[in-house]
């Protein structure tokens, strides 16, 4: 849960900041501002590279996930026999495993974020749109959940229900929607009070049309920023679980699983930890830079 | 009386002139921003006499606040001031922080517009006020407290004893502004600068606070600078008025002359905007057009785009501030207003 809560303050601030921006042409401005942010654009490129490698790297390498090379155990990174990232204690090729792990980690990051997104947006917009008692009740539930040690629940969940990757999705997603719901609710409430929405009501537009035309466009900005900050958070939680042996299970692998195996072999094969660890760190860096870049692009005055 | 005052540009005040408290010469302020340099204040000069009240009038953004923040050494970190400001003959512009600390609050005090954000929210009013005396007069707790209570009563804060222990958010806007005034007066400064002290208040409270300043101006030797965008504030209070536009003084005159015989089209425009008893509020006009862009001031008169009397010369040549008649300065190419 630490990983879940650590970023909340920053995320919330980012959201509220991004939320101040509305309007069509502003999107073009925001795009232009984002593109002029070198660090953010660089991060996008690096992430794209990692994603492309996650898809194609196993094709580039002469080795596969299933190969065990008993004669090449714990070989350090080398250019010679195609074990560019070395091999692990079972003689498996780390290059393939690292990018296979990337595939799993990134997928989990995106999927769990999607779960959190759906729950959070639904919950927050319903609360914000209806307001009053409904809002009060729904947000009270969020408050209570906020105060709970939710990662401990995930651990219980995956240990007693079996270490299943789908459970990991659902578990993390079910925990990470809280902040999202708060942001969406706040945005919905504030949009609802704007004059143009009152005007739309007055001319008899239906709730659905109002939501589509006025509420959704206002929420999109903050949600996008939050999503870019939520993906690394969920990747981190997955790694945390996998490190404890509770997440992704062999023969599948993720960065967390690899790091865990690397930690166990830290004395004999430090690269087993350093390589996936570095990729994980770079990915987290990039998502954070992109998130910051998007926030700044969407809210230039907030700087 | 006003006619005997030293006038900038007419005769430089001599240091021996005992009545002169502050001489400001050619004060210029610019800000460096990512988009280039902003000239907020361009070559302003004026003198302040003991007990005199000088009004500074102009639209928002005309450089009123930055002029005096520069004098107090309170510009934002991207701001730079040049020129000369003398307090009792001593140069105080761009001096060391140590020297500034000795002057601020002691000889030069300021009341800011926004009393809500201007007082430290997590500190009791009493502490905030008494620390001024501790700092400048070296008073102990008890003595400072007595003096503060006295001052709070002077600015008509009821139940001063109780208020002393309260926090800013527990005060109404008007009361907070009184606290700000009390804080500024604690050391009986030579110059009190009031930067739009009534703008954030509602009309009745505005009148009360203005009465407070009026009393001050009449009964003390403190020179008062009243910054405002509202000529109405100036009318009953000030001896002289300086009208600013785009970071420059466009007219400087005794208050009566300014009201009855303005010499600058901008001043006339401001006067036309004043609500008056003999006029329907519907007739209220605002000067049409936008204040000038400080990043790109035009080569000619900054008011030209909005001036109903502008003629060929106005866009080419900047009018300088010159004497229209003794004691009355204006910066306009027109000899007489039509």
């Amino acid at each position: 849960m630490g990983f879940l809560t650590q970023r909340r303050d920053r995320q919330l601030a980012a959201m509220q900041a991004a939320g101040r921006t509305v309007g069509r042409s502003l999107w073009q401005d925001a795009t232009r501002r984002f593109l002029s942010n070198k660090v953010a654009v660089g991060s996008v490129i690096v992430l794209l590279l990692i994603s492309v490698m996650a898809v194609f790297a196993p094709l580039l390498s002469p080795h596969t996930m299933e190969d065990f090379y008993w004669e090449y155990i714990l070989v350090p990174p080398t250019l010679e026999n195609g074990h560019w990232f070395g091999t692990d204690s079972n003689g498996r090729d780390m290059f393939v495993r690292t990018f296979y792990g990337a595939r799993v980690s990134l997928t989990i990051g995106v999927m769990t974020t999607a779960v959190a997104l759906v729950i959070g947006v639904t919950w927050g917009s319903v609360a914000g749109f209806f307001g009053g008692k409904i809002d009060n009740f729904m947000m009270r539930i969020v408050d209570v959940l906020y105060a709970l040690p939710l990662l401990f629940f995930i651990i219980i969940l995956v240990t007693v229900f079996g270490r299943n990757i789908y459970l990991v999705f659902i578990g993390i997603g079910a925990v990470e929607w809280l902040t999202m719901s708060r942001i969406v609710r706040g945005q919905t409430l504030s949009v609802k009070q704007k004059e143009y929405v009152e005007a739309a009501r007055a001319i008899g537009l239906s709730n659905l049309v109002i939501v589509r035309r006025h509420v959704v466009p206002n929420i999109v900005g903050p949600v996008i920023v939050f999503v870019t900050l939520l993906i690394p958070t969920t990747i981190l939680v997955e790694s945390y679980l996998s490190f404890l042996g509770l997440g992704v299970q062999e023969p599948m692998t993720s960065w967390g699983t690899l790091i865990s195996q690397g930690a166990a072999n830290i004395d004999t094969g430090p690269w087993l930890l350093l390589i996936p660890g570095t990729f994980l760190a770079i990915t987290l860096f990039c998502f954070n830079f992109i998130g910051d870049g998007l926030r700044d692009a969407l809210d230039p005055e907030g700087r | 009386m006003a006619a005997t005052h030293a006038r900038p540009g007419r005769r430089p005040a001599s240091a021996s002139d005992q009545r002169t408290v502050m001489e400001c010469r050619d004060l210029t302020v610019h800000f460096d921003t990512p988009n280039g340099r902003i000239s907020a204040v361009n070559g302003i000069s004026f003198d302040l006499q003991r007990g005199e009240c000088l009004g500074i009038v102009g639209e928002s953004g005309s450089g009123k606040s930055q002029t005096f923040l520069a004098i107090l050494g309170l510009l934002a970190s991207n701001g730079h001031a040049s020129g000369s400001v003398k307090l009792h003959g001593e140069e105080i512009l761009n001096v060391s922080r140590r020297r500034l600390d000795a002057i601020r609050g002691e000889k030069l005090a300021i009341v800011f517009q926004d009393s809500i954000t201007g007082l430290t929210p997590h500190k009791r009013i009493g502490e905030q006020l008494s620390e001024v005396l501790t700092q400048h007069r070296g008073l102990g707790r008890g003595a400072a407290r007595a003096k503060v209570l006295e001052m709070l009563e002077l600015v008509r804060i009821p139940e001063a004893e109780k208020r002393y222990r309260m926090y800013p958010h527990e005060f109404s806007g008007g009361m907070r502004q009184r606290v700000m005034v009390a804080q500024a007066l604690l050391c009986q400064p030579d110059v009190l600068i009031a930067d739009e002290p009534t703008t954030a208040l509602d009309v009745t409270v505005q009148a009360q606070i203005l009465k407070l300043f009026k009393g001050l101006a009449d009964h003390t030797n403190t020179a008062l600078v009243m910054i405002t965008h509202d000529l109405g504030v100036v009318a009953g209070l000030c001896d002289e008025v300086m009208v600013m536009y785009g970071g420059r003084v466009v007219e400087h005159a005794p208050v009566d002359e300014l009201f009855y015989a303005p010499r600058h089209p901008y001043t006339r425009g401001l006067l036309a905007c004043m609500p008056r008893a003999d006029r329907d509020s519907e007739e209220l006009t605002a000067i049409p057009g936008q204040p000038p862009d400080l990043e790109a001031l035009p080569p000619g008169c900054a008011f030209a785009p909005r001036c109903p009397y502008a003629f060929g010369r106005c866009e080419l040549e900047r009018p300088i501030l010159e004497t229209a008649q003794p004691g009355h300065l204006k910066a306009c190419h027109l000899e007489e207003l039509p």
Binding site: G2, D143, T159, F243, L273 | F112, K123, E131
Partner: protein, 307 residues
């Protein structure tokens, strides 16, 4: 202030109840039980064992029994560590985790605030960039990567510090776990402090304080610091939660006999009483420390106190 605290407590108790009920039913909702792994046991033996731990009764009745015992302060016997009660295990684990966690929090606050203030006061100079780069790194490199690297460098290469074990909390055994645990929090706290400091120094009341003729150190100490610390105090709750979850993994890596290890062991072996015991202690700690953070906040900000 009193009503403020009692109102918070009124929310805290139901929250705790939700935690207890949630974890209790969550564990029992899954198929299987604690004795599944012991395939060599006779079915009758398993039945007896289940009866001994009340597992043969309906779930709601088990819950009632558990709550009744809990109210008497009894966490029940552990299933995995058959000779111990959960209370005894907690008595071993809790002091370790508390010592580790508190040290980490104090270290994090100390370094985080210091780095943040230095950064803010030297805004956009090289020292600001260096500190913030360190902070950014601490942000993106998780504790479970940092910890093994630390053991590699300081334990295995330099041979300066032990790489595992508790040794009754001896200083040299504490150093690496505390660093690994505090690092992510230092990263966040320093960024938070820097931002807060910059924000506060922009406020009008800071200008007022300067206009009164106060020297800068009095302006900062007297008028800025309290406001600067407010977001830090709000972050205290999440920071504590972060340290707690972090410590689960750090205890695992460094082989420390803390609560986290018992929690993971308990969960893996479906040791119901042990998991419940650890979760209750964690939840209580989080709730109480959050309450403490609220009280400190109220003390610092008079506007909250009066509400």
């Amino acid at each position: 202030m009193f009503s403020f605290v009692s109102r918070r407590l009124a929310v805290a108790l139901p929250t705790l109840l939700v935690v207890i009920a949630g974890s209790f039913f969550l564990m029992r909702a899954a198929p299987g039980g604690p004795f599944d792994a012991d395939a060599q046991l006779e079915p009758e033996v398993i039945e007896n064992l289940r009866a001994a731990y009340d597992l043969d009764k309906p779930v709601t009745e088990q819950f009632m029994l558990y709550m009744a015992r809990l109210l008497r302060g009894d966490f029940g016997p552990s299933i995995t560590y058959a000779d111990y009660t959960v209370t005894e295990l907690l008595a071993i684990g809790l002091p370790v985790s508390v010592k580790l966690g508190l040290t980490a929090i104090v270290v994090a606050l100390l370094f985080g605030c210091l780095m943040g203030i230095i950064s803010a006061l030297n805004r956009n100079r090289w020292i600001d960039y260096v500190t913030m780069s360190i902070a950014m790194t601490g942000f993106a490199v998780p504790a479970f990567v940092v910890a093994p690297v630390l053991t590699l460098v300081f334990g295995l290469y330099l041979k300066l510090l032990p790489i595992s074990g508790w040794n009754d909390g001896a200083l040299q055994n504490m150093v690496l776990p505390v660093i690994a645990l505090a690092l992510p929090q230092i990263a966040i706290l320093s960024r938070l402090t820097r931002g807060s400091m910059l924000e506060v120094m922009r406020q009008n009341y800071i200008r007022t304080a300067r206009a009164k003729g106060l020297p800068e150190y009095k302006v900062v100490a007297g008028h800025a610091l309290k406001a600067v610390s407010l977001p830090l105090v709000s972050y205290l709750g999440p920071a504590i939660a972060g340290i707690m979850t972090g410590s689960v993994i750090i205890e695992q890596i460094f082989g420390l006999p803390g609560m986290g290890r018992y929690f993971i062991q308990g969960a893996l072996n479906r040791d119901y009483p042990l998991v419940m015991g650890t979760v209750i202690v964690y939840a209580t700690a989080i709730i109480l420390l959050n309450l403490l953070a609220d009280v400190i906040y109220g003390y610092l900000d008079p506007r909250v106190r009066r509400e």
